[in-house]
């Protein structure tokens, strides 16, 4: 079943002066449960594409539909609520809240959604256990390694059971060991929970684990294949 549909999506910066076409007339669909890597050189438009899929950036043309909801037509407030309820984000720089502990970071979105305490606790513990951080529930990000922080970020992205997770270069700041651990965890969660993952990456190790690879070049899809 298709979960994301992108039609004629374009993003042009400086349209009135020197136009830069970061994303140019892209058409893509993503199915539920896919584990997709978008690869390409720096400046190829991967992040811009992911930002538009996640409703973080607005397209200049075209539209993004997620589970039949047209993101392009939503107001800022609607989009924020939609992101909160249906999309998970993993950032390159982890972006955990430094003042919250690991478990509090994971619970954060669920708490904003108004989920009951019991449900939040059990879901957070379950996820932190799945990513092998049961012993660091009450550690703040400053006390965790980069790899551990990124695992917490993955748990946070998955906690509210989103329709899909967008991960923008999630392994860029990690060493080989942490990268391998993180990928193992994401593959496991993808398989166990059926959550769709879309990555942007330069990292061949991530590409190797992806089941679908989209090669991006100059804002357009150059290749799109399943492994």
């Amino acid at each position: 079943m298709e979960i994301i549909e992108i039609r004629n999506l374009s993003k042009t910066y400086n349209p009135k002066t020197i136009p830069v076409h970061a994303v140019n007339q892209v058409n893509l669909t993503f199915k539920e449960g896919e584990f997709t890597a978008i690869v390409g050189a720096s400046g190829s438009g991967k992040t811009t594409l992911l930002n538009m899929i996640g409703g973080i950036d607005n397209p200049s043309e075209g539209e993004v539909c997620i589970a039949s909801n047209n993101l392009t037509n939503m107001s800022e407030t609607q989009k924020t609520k939609f992101r909160r309820d249906h999309i998970g984000f993993v950032f390159q720089s982890y972006n955990l809240l430094p003042v919250l502990t690991a478990i509090e970071n994971v619970e954060f979105i669920m708490e904003m959604q108004g989920r009951p305490v019991k449900e939040r606790h059990s879901r957070s513990k379950e996820l932190l256990s799945a990513i092998c951080l049961s012993n660091r529930l009450h550690s703040r990000p400053g006390k965790l390694s980069g790899g551990q922080q990124q695992r917490v970020a993955v748990a946070r992205a998955l906690a509210h059971k989103p329709k899909f997770v967008i991960a923008d270069e999630p392994t860029a700041n990690l060493d080989s060991r942490s990268t391998a651990d993180l990928l193992d965890i994401m593959v496991k969660l993808n398989e166990q929970e059926g959550i769709t993952f879309i990555f942007s990456t330069h990292d061949q190790r991530v590409v190797d684990r992806a089941r679908r690879v989209i090669v991006f070049e100059d804002g357009s899809v150059k290749e799109d294949y399943n492994k």
Binding site: T47, T48, N51, G54, I56, D57, E76, T77, T80, K81, R83, R84, D85, F89, F91, Q92, S93, N95, L97, P98, V99, L100, F108, I109, E111, M112, R156, D168
Partner: protein
């Protein structure tokens, strides 16, 4: 909301040193300003107290009395009328007075004097005139005797048991003349009054002036000085337009003017202080906001509305302000309270200048809850102004430009 409060609370302790410095600047500003203004209000209270001891906080007079202060503009002194005045909420005592200027004379000299007819008991209850008797004794009701101020007695070279001769124009141009044994000599704090005042029992003064059953004014004491305006209006309403109700600040415009001038200077000084502290706070909050741009973008990306992020920032500013203000109150109150209960007596030239104005020569702080509240409110407003930058920044924030 609990989550946002928790986040804001933890955020303010994220950079402990910065938050502590911000709070210390708030504490410094509030403690200094509360103490400074309490000191000034203590002095104002002394000035007002000195002025109103001789006039009351309110006075009921004949409509035309204040203009000429003529002995012909009198009002009747009935028990019913006094009861009518007393029935107005906020009035705690009604003190009748009949005063007139006279020529006071001894065997050897004479001098213009202010002769005040008083009800000895109610007058003493209000301004403790009895405690100012330095020789002889205080007056009793209806007796044919006088007490005179120390300066007047010195000028006329009169002492207790000597006779004072008073001559004046009485009510409706009658000739007022009388001889009164001096029962006591009082030392009045106001030097001018100390040079020219003589007190007669009210009935004796009425007989002297040919104004039986009449008074110039009723001095009124009030239970709450801050409600004087409201009491004045209620009283005017109760007594009707035939009577003038004067407030203390209308009877002593010089005191009010002096307070206003002093308050203006204090406002300028404190504005400079708050401006300096305010810029410090604004700088801190702007820095904090700029450092957290990416975090704000991330919060919006994962689903916090901009209004929720703005709430966190506003809460952080207010928490810093509230903690600072509460600590400042906890420091300032004991100081103000101590200085209120333990006034510092002035000596030398300082004391003389206070005495020259008829004001008790002491430094005493006033406890004014509104000062504490006002200084807290100023900090609250500074915090709101300081939050304006991060709030605007968040409103204009473009997530895609700040997160990675």
């Amino acid at each position: 909301m609990n989550q946002l409060i928790k986040l804001a609370w933890r955020n303010i302790w994220r950079k402990k040193r910065r938050s502590v410095i911000t709070m210390l600047s708030v504490i410094f500003a509030v403690v200094i300003s509360v103490n400074f203004r309490s000191l000034q209000w203590g002095a104002y209270d002394k000035m007002i107290e000195a002025g109103t001891k001789n006039s009351g906080y309110l006075q009921v007079q004949s409509q035309d009395y204040w203009e000429d202060k003529s002995i012909n503009e009198l009002i009747e002194d009935h028990v019913n009328f006094r009861n009518q005045i007393s029935s107005v909420p906020g009035i705690s005592s009604v003190i009748p007075r009949l005063q007139n200027f006279s020529l006071a004379a001894s065997e050897s000299s004479s001098k213009g004097a202010l002769v005040i007819g008083i009800d000895p008991e109610s007058e003493n209850q209000y301004n403790e005139l009895n405690s100012r008797v330095i020789k002889g004794s205080y007056l009793s009701e209806n007796e044919n005797a006088v007490i005179i101020a120390e300066g007047l007695s010195n000028y006329l070279k009169l002492k207790v048991n000597d006779t004072l001769v008073l001559v004046s124009q009485g009510y409706h141009a009658s000739i007022a003349a009388g001889k009164y044994p001096i029962k006591g000599i009082v030392k009045l704090p106001n030097p001018q009054m100390n040079r020219m005042t003589a007190y007669l029992p009210l009935t004796t003064a009425q007989a002297f002036n040919g104004a039986e059953g009449l008074v110039n004014a009723f001095m009124l004491n009030v239970s709450d000085r801050t409600q004087v305006n409201a009491t004045q209006l209620m009283l005017q309403d109760q007594l009707g337009p035939a009577y003038a109700i004067m407030r203390w600040d209308e009877m002593h415009p010089e005191i009010q003017k002096s307070i206003n001038t002093d308050t203006t200077i204090a406002t300028l000084l404190l504005s400079a202080l708050y401006l300096i502290v305010g810029f410090g706070i604004i700088g801190t909050i702007v820095m904090m906001a700029l450092e957290r741009k990416r975090e704000f973008g991330m919060l919006q990306a994962i689903g916090l509305q901009k209004s929720q992020i703005q709430t966190v920032i506003l809460l952080e500013s207010l928490m810093l302000g509230v903690i600072g203000v509460i600590l400042a109150w906890l420091i300032a109150f004991p100081i103000v309270n101590f200085m209120h209960n333990n006034p510092i007596p002035l000596t030398g030239e300082g004391a003389k200048s206070f005495e020259a104005m008829g004001v008790e020569p002491v430094i005493q702080f006033a406890i004014k809850p509104h000062l504490f509240a006002l200084m807290g409110l100023i900090i609250f407003l500074i915090m709101l102004v300081a939050s304006a930058f991060p709030l605007t920044m968040i409103r204009k924030l473009k997530m895609s430009e700040v997160i990675k």
